[in-house]
């Protein structure tokens, strides 16, 4: 899946962004990027269900490899 970010500029001056296809903790890098690109302060961020599913899969793989 191609890596994308979807940015929404709302008419009330707020901004929303969603990362797509960016695996695991790498998507956290985009929090600072959004603030820098738009001169904004981050009010909140939330992991989607996909993030947790991916984290579980990665941990399972790591545990298997270490075991």
């Amino acid at each position: 899946m191609a890596k994308k970010i979807q940015i929404k500029l709302k008419p009330d001056g707020t901004i929303e962004m969603e990362t797509k296809g960016i695996k695991g903790k790498a998507c956290l890098n985009y929090i600072d990027l959004l603030a820098k690109l738009t001169d904004s302060r981050i009010d909140n961020y939330e992991y989607t269900q996909e993030y947790y599913e991916n984290e579980v899969n990665e941990n399972t793989v790591n545990n298997c490899e270490n075991g």
Partner: protein, 172 residues
């Protein structure tokens, strides 16, 4: 695999700082406070040439002076004059707007001078909507330029029904 992020332009400021990090609350608080500010605005009256003049005071979320001036000009304001280091005033029809603040990081305090019976609250509501739309426009210009500078390609651009601008960007 992904996260959603909510942010607010630095051009808008309210009592949001103390509430940062609480999901979905921050922006509402800014304008809830602003609306409260409208309800709780300080009103005083003076009589000049047999006409009662009202002076109403508001705490606004307006931080960016350039966007504010642009908004006021588009709103039809004229006769701009500087008041002190950070303040200025301007006029439109029967209203005089006086803006002041202690430093450039703080939002402006606004006083409206008008004749008795004029609807100051409607005037500040209109101004607030127009300011926010200019913040959106300014953010769009800044964002698209910075994406270009960072070699990030905009795959698609869409205006949604509520006038939200949606950009889909390819990243490496």
């Amino acid at each position: 695999m992904s996260i959603t992020i909510s942010a607010t332009s630095l051009a808008i400021m309210g009592a949001v700082a103390a509430l940062r990090g609480i999901a979905g609350v921050a922006q509402d608080v800014i304008f809830e406070n602003f609306e409260n500010s409208i309800e709780n605005s300080i009103e005083s009256a003076i009589t000049k040439n047999d006409t009662k003049e009202i002076l109403k005071e508001y705490q606004t979320p307006f931080v960016d002076c350039e966007i504010l001036e642009k908004t006021l000009i588009e709103h039809g304001c004229e006769n701009f004059s500087k008041n002190g280091e950070y303040g200025f005033s301007c006029e439109i029809e029967n209203f005089t707007f006086i803006f002041s603040r202690d430093n450039i990081e703080n939002p402006f305090k606004m006083e409206i001078k008008c004749n008795e019976g004029a609807n100051c609250d409607m005037e500040i509501d209109d101004l607030s909507e127009e300011y926010k739309m200019n913040v959106q426009e300014e953010t769009y210009v800044k964002l698209t330029q910075r994406l270009k500078n960072n070699n990030m390609t905009v795959e698609s651009e869409q205006i949604l029904e509520d006038d939200t601008i949606m950009l889909t960007v390819n990243v490496e």
